[in-house]
Every structure is written in structure tokens, then in C-alpha cells.
């Protein structure tokens, strides 16, 4: 079977110092892949390379067997959706209009958005449970709702592959969990997700595969439970503290910052 992404000897540099050096990675269709790594490890850069937003200095990225920079912008937008970090820079477009932008790669130049496009938008809004937000300005809804709107837009784009940059960034705990739950549900329907995160527990919560990056290279790649272990996390993030292991879950870990604090109850 042809893999979704095939990355070979990939290097990328903004100036002279390479951010990513000789990276090799294959991602298949379906499932959730989490990219973990400390700040500056190059995970967001890798994400943008996968989206074709940055051009590699060396190496090759193939999307479904085809070199990504030979695929036109519109065609690429019909295969891949980018779900950016929640931002505020936009005008107060209605949520509906933001999601409608997802139909851009499907509409011809002279035609306006048609009824079919609008129907697709309504369905995307319904699927993410934000139908009631359709007429609200994008700037006046909460961070969690904004992230759901951006996912709905990706859904309206009609793609099977979602590339997300820190999807839970800036959301409160409840919204983080609700968002991950939505993503998990979409993954169960067969959508592919590749996302970066600063939260190892989010990788454990929904990912099928965890890729750990450090200084522009992949240092671990595997199933979440065997990859996201307290030892690995301590190594990846250079943590001074011992990590608390829970009984039920041998992965992840909570840092113990006051000696014995977690045991006093």
C-alpha cells in the first residue's frame, strides 16, 4: 500500500544552522500520529514541511507517492487540511463564513459558493456540535470553539488528512479533553491526524503512534505506551524531577516537585 507521507533525508534551514537534518519518516493512512518534542526541536517546522508550506533545503517529501512540491496548491488543499493554532488575527467573520472558506479549493474562479458548498458547511458544523455558533463572530467565541471551527473548516475542505499544530494550545482543561474527544471520534471514522503537542498525556489519550523529536531529528518512534514513559520524558525534556508513575498506566508521568507531595493523603 502506498503510504500517505514518505519523508527521506529531509533537511531544512532558515539561515545556516539546520533546523531539521537528514530526517526520515513514513506515515500511513488512518490513525493519529502525535509529534512530541521540546521547544525548538523542529516539530512545527516538520509540520509545515509536510504541508508544503516550507520548501526543504535537501531531501524529498512524497504525499501519496507524489513529490509534494510538484502538486499544485489547489490539489494539495484537496488532499491535506491545515488546522493552525487558535489565533485572533482575523476579522469578526461569522463562524459559518470561516468554515465556508474550506470550500475555496473546490470552487472555480468565477462561480460563487453554491448551495452544495453551504450544505457541506452545515454538515461539518453539525458534526463538531457547533451548529449553534454559525452566526457568531469568530472573534467573540471561546478558544475551544475557535479550534472546533478550524477543524470544521478542515472537514468542509473534504480531505481525509488533518495536520494540526498544537490543537490544545490555549484551551482550558475541560476544552482540551472535549477537543481531543472530537478528534478521537473523527479518527475512528477513518480520518488521519498528524498533530504536534506539548502535552505527552494528549498523545497517550488519542494517538496510535508517537514520534519524539529532539534538535531536528527523530529520537523515538513507536506505540504510545512504550514510547511515552517517564524515563523517556525525563530524557526528552531534560527534567530535573522524578516522574510519578500511576498504577493503571505505565506511560506518561506527573512530575514530583515537592518530595512525597503526591503520597500525602
Amino acid at each position: 500500500m502506498m503510504s500517505l507521507f514518505e519523508v527521506d533525508s529531509l533537511s531544512f534551514a532558515y539561515g545556516s544552522a539546520p533546523l531539521i537534518d537528514g530526517l526520515k519518516l513514513t506515515i500511513g493512512e488512518g490513525g493519529v500520529v502525535a509529534l512530541l518534542g521540546p521547544n525548538g526541536s523542529g516539530k512545527t517546522t516538520l509540520l509545515k514541511l509536510l504541508l508544503g508550506l516550507l520548501k526543504p533545503t535537501r531531501g524529498v517529501i512524497r504525499l501519496r507517492g507524489k513529490e509534494i512540491h510538484e502538486i499544485g496548491r489547489r490539489e494539495l488543499a484537496r488532499q491535506l487540511a491545515y488546522v493552525p493554532q487558535v489565533h485572533r488575527e482575523a476579522f469578526g467573520f461569522h463562524v459559518f463564513d470561516v468554515v465556508l472558506m474550506g470550500r475555496m479549493p473546490h470552487s472555480s474562479f468565477f462561480s460563487r459558493y453554491g448551495d452544495k458548498d453551504k450544505q457541506i458547511v452545515w454538515e461539518a458544523l453539525e458534526k463538531l456540535g457547533i451548529l449553534h455558533l454559525a452566526g457568531r463572530p469568530y472573534t467573540e467565541i471561546s478558544g475551544g470553539e475557535r479550534q472546533l471551527t478550524l477543524i470544521a473548516r478542515a472537514l468542509a475542505q473534504g480531505v481525509r488528512v488533518f495536520v494540526m499544530d498544537e490543537p490544545t494550545n490555549g484551551l482550558d482543561y475541560g476544552n482540551q479533553v472535549r477537543l481531543l474527544e472530537r478528534v478521537g471520534r473523527l479518527a475512528d471514522e477513518g480520518y488521519t491526524f498528524v498533530f504536534t503537542s506539548h502535552h505527552p498525556e494528549h498523545a497517550l489519550a488519542i494517538a496510535d503512534r508517537v514520534v519524539m523529536m529532539q534538535s531536528g531529528a527523530i529520537i523515538r518512534d513507536g506505540a504510545p505506551l512504550s514510547t511515552v514513559t517517564p524515563e523517556r520524558l525525563a530524557e526528552l525534556y531534560g527534567l530535573p524531577a522524578r516522574l510519578f508513575k500511576s498504577e493503571m498506566n505505565k506511560g506518561c508521568g506527573i512530575p514530583l516537585l515537592r518530595h512525597g507531595a503526591a503520597y500525602h493523603f
Binding site: L125, L131, T139
Partner: protein
């Protein structure tokens, strides 16, 4: 964990109850949500088109020789449909006042108003910045320098217009060039490039003014730059209308792209838009049409800033509605301002001064509400 999942299920149920018949007919399924969206549809566009027509009708009648709207309509019926309201000599008098004298001037005002406000709206959407107008990127400064240079060194009227247009274009090329030199493709660099280019042409303009003959050329330059529609005659309006209408058409066609561009470059690219090409085309068109307004009637400021703001309060930020509405409202606005500038005092005052005097307090008022559309 299980508690949070239950909470999610509950919110989902709440969302589910929002549409009354979840499994119902495909058409009625989202009816309730549609009502919640409260879309105004094309009402603002129709409204502004109607107000433009009314403003044009009344403005045709205003002047030293007032003609009532009823007479104007009767005149039009007689001229185009052969109805008989007036004797022949009265007809020819009305014809020369309405068609030969007032109509070109009203059309010029409409063209300039729509060009300035539409290019302002396009710039604002593209740079996601409420304080942007055609004077950003140095367009108006460059065009004014071109005009001044033309008045001093080139004698033909045509050459002056071409110099004006080239000045505006060169200013933009410099602004974009500065951003390019540093290989940073960001909005901030473009805006800074525009400020630098604008400052350059403003000082070059001062140089030309200093060198100009103080008895004939200097007053001509100063008068031009204050902006006045007295220069508008029929042939000039026809000649300028073709490129302005083409530029407006391109901006109208790209209104959807402008929506996507205002979400940021990377998102726009990920939505399949060729950001570089679209941005250059939009900048080119907006520049051409605003430089042409300087070539037509001098520097008329504030319109490109105020009118898009005002229109956004009615239509919201969706450029598919904003661009056509701002085009119509801008035209109507400048016709009204021109009426004021030619009738308010015993002799005509430059329209550029009136737009600034009206624009500045309007802008102060608009700023209070600006957050609504901008967030």
C-alpha cells in the same frame, strides 16, 4: 476521565436538540440553525445601490439652476422613451445643464469615490489592518509627486496623467521591493516599506514644489493636490472610467480570496490560494485605480479609510458583501461631498479639504465601534 466523557455527551445532546428534526428531510434539517445565523443576505448591497441612485438623481438637480427630481425624470423619459413633457428649447437647456455639465462631474465623483473606497477595503482586508488605506504603500504620495513633476516639466495634460499613474506605481514597486530585499514576506515589512516609500515621495514632492515657478506652477500643484472635481469633463471621465472599472471588477472577483487572505498567509496557502500572485494582482489593481483618481482630480484623502469602516458596520467583514457595498456607498458619499463642496459656500472649496474635514471626526466616531468588526 469517564466523568469528562459524560460531560461531552451531554453537551453533544444539547447541540443535537438545536435542530428540531435531526433525521428529517435534508432541506429542513438546518432550518433552525439558518435562522440563528441571521444572515442579512444581499439587503445591504441593494440598499446601497438604491441610495446611490437617489443621491445621483438629487445631485443632478442641485446647483445655481435648481431642477427638481420630477423634472429630471420627465427629462429622461422624454429623451429616451419619446414622452413629451417639455418644448424643444427647454429640452436643449436641460440637456446642456444635466448631461453636458453636471453628469460628467457626478460620474467623476462616483468613479473616484468607488475607486478610493474599494481599494481601501481591499488593502484593509489584505493587510488585516483597520488603519490601512490607499495612502499606505505610498500610492497617493507617489502619484502626487508624479503629478507635480508632470505639471513642472511636462506640458501636455496626457503626459501629466501618465506621470501621476507611474508615480503611484513606482511608489508601490519601491514599497514591495524594500520588503523583498530583506527576503521577508510579511505584512509588517510591506507596511513599513510603504511608509518608507511614502516618506521618500513626500520629500521629493517638496523638492519639486521648491523648484517650481512660484507664479504659475506652484499654485497649479497646490490646487491639484487639494483635490477638485472642476477638472472633470466628459472625455476625461470616459477615458479614466475604463481602467477604473476594470480594476474594480478584478477586486470584486477576488473578494473571496481577500477573505481567505485575511486569515493569514499560511492558512490561505493551505486553502489552495496562490498567495503571492493574488496579493500582487490585488495590490496592482488597487494601486492603479487609486493613482488614477489622483490623475483625475488630485489628492482626495480619508475616503479610502472611512467608507470601508462605515460599510463594515452594515455588512460585517465578509468581503463578498463588503466590497460591492463599499463600492456603491463610496460613490454615493463622494457625490454628496462634492455637492457640499460646490454649494455650501458662495464659491467652490476643494473637495480634498471637505473629505478631510468630514472624515476626521467620522473616523474618531467610527473608532469607538471599530472593535465590533475587528475583535
Amino acid at each position: 476521565m469517564s466523568a469528562s466523557v459524560t460531560a461531552v455527551e451531554e453537551t453533544h445532546d444539547k447541540a443535537g436538540r438545536l435542530h428540531p428534526e435531526p433525521g428529517g428531510a435534508e432541506q429542513g434539517r438546518f432550518a433552525f440553525a439558518r435562522v440563528l445565523r441571521k444572515g442579512k443576505g444581499s439587503l445591504p448591497i441593494i440598499g446601497s445601490a438604491l441610495s446611490l441612485l437617489v443621491v445621483m438623481l438629487f445631485s443632478l438637480g442641485l446647483g445655481k439652476y435648481p431642477i427638481s427630481p420630477r423634472e429630471i425624470l420627465q427629462f429622461l423619459c422624454q429623451k429616451y422613451f419619446g414622452a413629451a413633457f417639455f418644448p424643444a428649447d427647454r429640452m436643449s437647456l436641460l440637456n446642456s445643464i444635466l448631461v453636458e455639465i453636471r453628469l460628467p462631474r457626478i460620474l467623476a465623483a462616483a468613479l473616484i469615490g468607488s475607486a478610493l473606497s474599494t481599494s481601501g477595503a481591499a488593502f484593509q482586508a489584505m493587510f488585516v489592518n483597520p488603519l490601512v488605506s490607499p495612502s499606505l504603500l505610498g500610492v497617493l504620495a507617489g502619484a502626487s509627486f508624479g503629478a507635480a513633476l508632470g505639471i513642472v516639466y511636462l506640458k501636455s495634460w496626457y503626459a501629466v496623467q501618465i506621470a501621476t499613474f507611474l508615480g503611484g506605481l513606482i511608489a508601490v514597486v519601491i514599497a514591495v521591493g524594500i520588503a523583498r530585499v530583506y527576503r521577508i514576506n510579511s505584512t509588517i515589512m510591506l507596511v513599513l516599506g510603504g511608509i518608507i516609500s511614502g516618506a521618500l515621495f513626500t520629500s521629493l514632492l517638496s523638492l519639486v514644489k521648491y523648484l517650481a515657478d512660484p507664479y504659475n506652477q506652484l499654485p497649479a500643484i497646490v490646487n491639484w493636490l487639494m483635490g477638485s472635481l472642476t477638472f472633470s469633463d466628459r472625455s476625461m471621465v470616459i477615458k479614466s472610467s475604463i481602467p477604473i472599472c476594470l480594476g474594480l471588477l478584478v477586486l470584486l472577483l477576488f473578494s473571496r480570496h481577500l477573505n481567505v487572505l485575511s486569515m493569514g498567509d499560511e492558512e490561505a496557502r493551505s486553502l489552495g490560494v496562490n498567495v503571492q500572485r493574488v496579493r500582487l494582482l490585488v495590490i496592482f489593481c488597487a494601486t492603479v485605480i487609486s493613482a488614477l483618481t489622483v490623475a483625475m482630480d488630485g489628492m482626495i484623502g480619508w475616503v479610502g479609510l472611512i467608507i470601508p469602516h462605515f460599510t463594515r458596520m452594515i455588512t460585517g467583514p465578509d468581503n463578498q458583501k463588503l466590497i460591492p457595498a463599499t463600492l456603491l456607498i463610496g460613490a454615493a458619499y463622494l457625490i454628496v461631498v462634492d455637492d457640499i463642496s460646490r454649494l455650501a459656500f458662495s464659491y467652490e472649496i476643494p473637495i480634498g479639504i471637505v473629505t478631510a474635514l468630514l472624515g476626521i471626526p467620522c473616523f474618531a466616531l467610527v473608532l469607538r465601534n471599530a472593535r465590533k468588526g475587528w475583535g
